[in-house]
């Protein structure tokens, strides 16, 4: 076993010390050496601060003073998630796997397979095939947007591994339920998706909460797309206004693979969602859509980094942010075209809609190009509801609330129309519309 060494406690925040205590209490497993390295890196780098480039707009200072303990595996009385933002209609049509505070609720059988997707627990897999797992936990990165991913790698206790083997038509929903009996708990949900060559599937991660309190959620998902594989992935944040969620998504794409990714922030008090995509072989294609809704005092910070590492790769990022109340929505997107990635194409479209004078939206599309013969376009606009559009609707006799809701809905249409699973789209639209004024009237316009 690797010796565990620690830096002097005096320099560490309470949060950092508590994460370290969690680490020290972990049972060794075949991944310990790798986890140790992740933990040491995290302790060395510390909690991200606004001095770190990708954390400029999100200050975790208030978390630093807290001491965290592991969220319970099976909290007493747990059964029903409060599915207030209702994606239930997806669950009716699709297979659903439940994860509570990061612990999968799976039947005892180890070779569980649903519609061509093999499902295993990471805890089991770390014992039976730790090399496979280690492959998807690496490489470890010191990049500030990956910082929280390091912590997850060190501390996740269990999770789910999905192996998509064929062309799967029905979506698979991972219903993440966050629940806590007291304050200062933390959960580390981890999901790994491996899409076999030529396979095709839709995976929906839906984050909800049960009860009034939730742990700090430090989740991580890794998606590996083999040659010609196609994955449509959703992460829908729909927890309550007091919850805090930091999610790291890593996507690695091989030759000719296609990934459509939807990041939908409908709930949560603080949501920080990062996406790092590596288009590492020719023909890989990423379509990323972000629909970020800021309400009341919510803080939503989304960081996307797409790296083109091979010729003929394509990425498209479409972000629509809405902020009302005193909320703040941040969309930082970066496209990196590495040397040799000739004929790479990228598009970044970031639009923001401010619905109140105290709300704030920051959109920052960035480009780093180190290759010739590339086509990269980007644009960012933020404004209020277009008075011409509003007047047009009012002049037809529509109520002001209805007219405004319609325009908000229309603003989001670019993201919604990208969704290829009708049931998912309908459920997300319903959840979205439910938050808008005059939602019942609006339902009929679709």
């Amino acid at each position: 076993m690797t010796p565990r060494q620690h830096s002097p406690a005096a320099t560490k925040s309470a949060a950092l010390r508590s994460f370290e205590a969690q680490w020290l209490a972990r049972e060794p497993d075949p991944l310990t050496a790798l986890r140790e390295e992740a933990m040491q890196r995290f302790l060395r780098l510390g909690l991200p601060t606004p001095r770190d480039e990708s954390w400029r707009y999100t200050n975790l200072r208030h978390l630093a003073a807290q001491s965290f303990v592991d969220a319970a595996r099976t909290p007493a009385g747990y059964l029903e998630p409060t599915d207030s933002l209702g994606l239930s209609s997806i669950a009716e049509r699709a297979a659903t796997v439940l994860m509570v505070n990061g612990y999968p609720v799976l039947p005892a059988s180890m070779d569980l397979s649903v519609n061509g997707i093999e499902i295993s627990s990471l805890r089991e897999l770390s014992r039976s095939d730790s090399r496979l797992l280690a492959r998807y936990l690496q490489p470890l990165s010191d990049a500030d947007e990956a910082r929280r991913g390091l912590l997850n790698t060190a501390l996740f206790a269990d999770g789910i591994f999905l192996k998509v083997k064929t062309q799967v038509t029905a979506p698979l929903v991972i219903l993440h339920v966050a629940t806590a009996e007291g304050p200062d708990t933390v959960a580390y949900p981890r999901l790994i998706i491996e899409a076999s060559p030529g396979s095709n599937a839709t995976i929906i991660e839906h984050h909800v909460q049960s009860g009034d309190e939730t742990p700090l959620c430090n989740s991580a998902t890794h998606i590996a797309l083999k040659r010609e594989a196609q994955i449509e992935h959703y992460r829908v944040f729909a927890t309550g206004p007091a919850s805090k969620h930091i999610d790291s998504l890593d996507i690695r794409q091989e030759r000719g693979s296609r990934c459509s990714q939807f990041t939908i922030a409908l709930g949560g008090g603080l949501v920080r969602a990062s996406l790092r995509a590596q288009l590492s072989e020719p023909g890989a294609c990423l379509d990323s859509y972000s629909l970020l809704v800021g309400h009341e005092e919510r803080h939503v910070d989304c960081v996307n980094i797409a790296t083109h590492g091979a010729p003929d790769t394509r990425s498209r990022q479409t972000a629509r942010s809405i902020a009302s109340g005193t909320s703040r929505v941040i969309f930082n997107s970066k496209v990196v075209v590495e040397a040799g990635a000739v004929r790479a194409e990228s598009q970044q479209s970031c639009r923001g809609l401010l619905l109140s004078p105290a709300a704030e939206i920051d959109s920052r599309p960035q480009l780093e190009i180190r290759a010739d013969e590339v086509k990269c376009a980007h644009g960012a606009t933020t404004g209020r509801l277009d008075p011409d559009m509003l007047f047009y609707r009012l002049s037809r006799g529509l109520d002001r609330d209805t007219a405004q809701s319609l325009l908000i809905y229309a603003f989001l249409a670019d993201v919604l129309t990208g969704m290829s699973v009708p049931s998912a789209r309908a459920a997300i639209e319903n959840a979205l519309i439910a938050q808008l004024p005059d939602s019942q009237v609006l339902q009929k316009f679709r």
Binding site: D386, P387, D388, M389, F391, Y392, R393, L394, S395, R396, G397, L398, D399, R400, T402, A403, L406, L407, Y409, A410, L412, A413, D414, L416, T417, V441, K444, F445, R446
Partner: protein, 250 residues
């Protein structure tokens, strides 16, 4: 039906309308002509209730009610309709449902029940036929991807379905080819009725070949400089707007 007295209005701090006087009676068609920047579109938008256009003086009554006291949506429900010069695209929002919502808003204000879905569809299809629009428009987003001519037809379609008492058409003829102009004119003429009135805002005499007005007004510099019958439009076509400005000075 509509009585405008000494109406003045400001847009972005600039005085655009400087004392407009105009009376439109039920059954009449009025044409308001004038050069670019004369205030024609501002007048149309002020009448429809655009909030960021500030009325600085004068009064407007519509069927005896103080029009300026009503919001844009209340004016629409009371029977005023503006066909926009630049209809706005609203992607993702179904064109026909929006029309139905507009009709129902108006019916609700009049204390009538909501329109029956089948009757409504039949009505829309009938009017679409008149406007020579394909049924594909039923399922598309509001003006989404419509050509200039299609947007204008869509405006007239909305007008025909909503059956306003007073229709104001803001340069509905601009950007139309001759065939589309005929179709649009036919649509407007089908609405002519002793109980309704139409105000056409236009640059060109051409439209008035198809929709024959009862009265023609020349608007320039925020005032109506001259009013007359149809022959005024023909004379304008021949002599240009400068003639009106000069004759007034003289």
């Amino acid at each position: 039906m509509l009585k405008i007295s000494e109406l003045s209005a400001r847009v972005a701090g600039k005085e655009i309308l400087k004392g407009i006087n105009l009376e439109v009676r039920a059954g009449e068609v009025h044409a308001i002509m004038g050069p670019n920047g004369s205030g024609k579109s501002t007048l149309a938008q002020v009448l429809a209730g655009r909030e960021d256009y500030e009325v600085t003086g004068g009064s407007v009554t519509f069927e005896g009610r103080d029009l300026l006291a009503l919001s844009a949506e209340e004016r629409a429900r009371a029977g005023l309709f503006l066909a926009f010069q630049y209809p706005v695209e609203i992607p993702g929002v179904n064109n026909v449902y929006l029309l139905k919502a507009a009709l129902n808003a108006k019916r609700k204000a009049a204390g009538e029940p909501e329109v029956d879905a089948y009757e409504f569809l039949a009505l829309v299809k009938q009017k679409m036929k008149l406007m020579q629009m394909s049924e594909a428009f039923l399922t598309r987003g509001v003006n989404e991807g419509f050509s200039g001519g299609e947007k204008k037809r869509n405006e007239v379609l909305q007008m025909l379905v909503l059956e306003p008492k007073l229709a104001i058409l803001d340069e509905t003829d601009s950007g139309l080819d001759i065939d589309a102009l005929k179709v649009v004119s036919m649509g407007v003429n089908s609405l002519r009725d002793p109980a309704r009135a139409v105000v056409l805002v236009t640059h060109y005499q051409r439209l008035l070949d198809y929709i024959v007005p009862d009265k023609v007004h020349v608007l320039s510099g925020g005032r109506i400089l001259k009013s007359g019958d149809r022959s005024l439009a023909l004379e304008l076509e021949r002599r240009g707007y400068d003639w009106v400005k000069e004759s007034r000075v003289a």
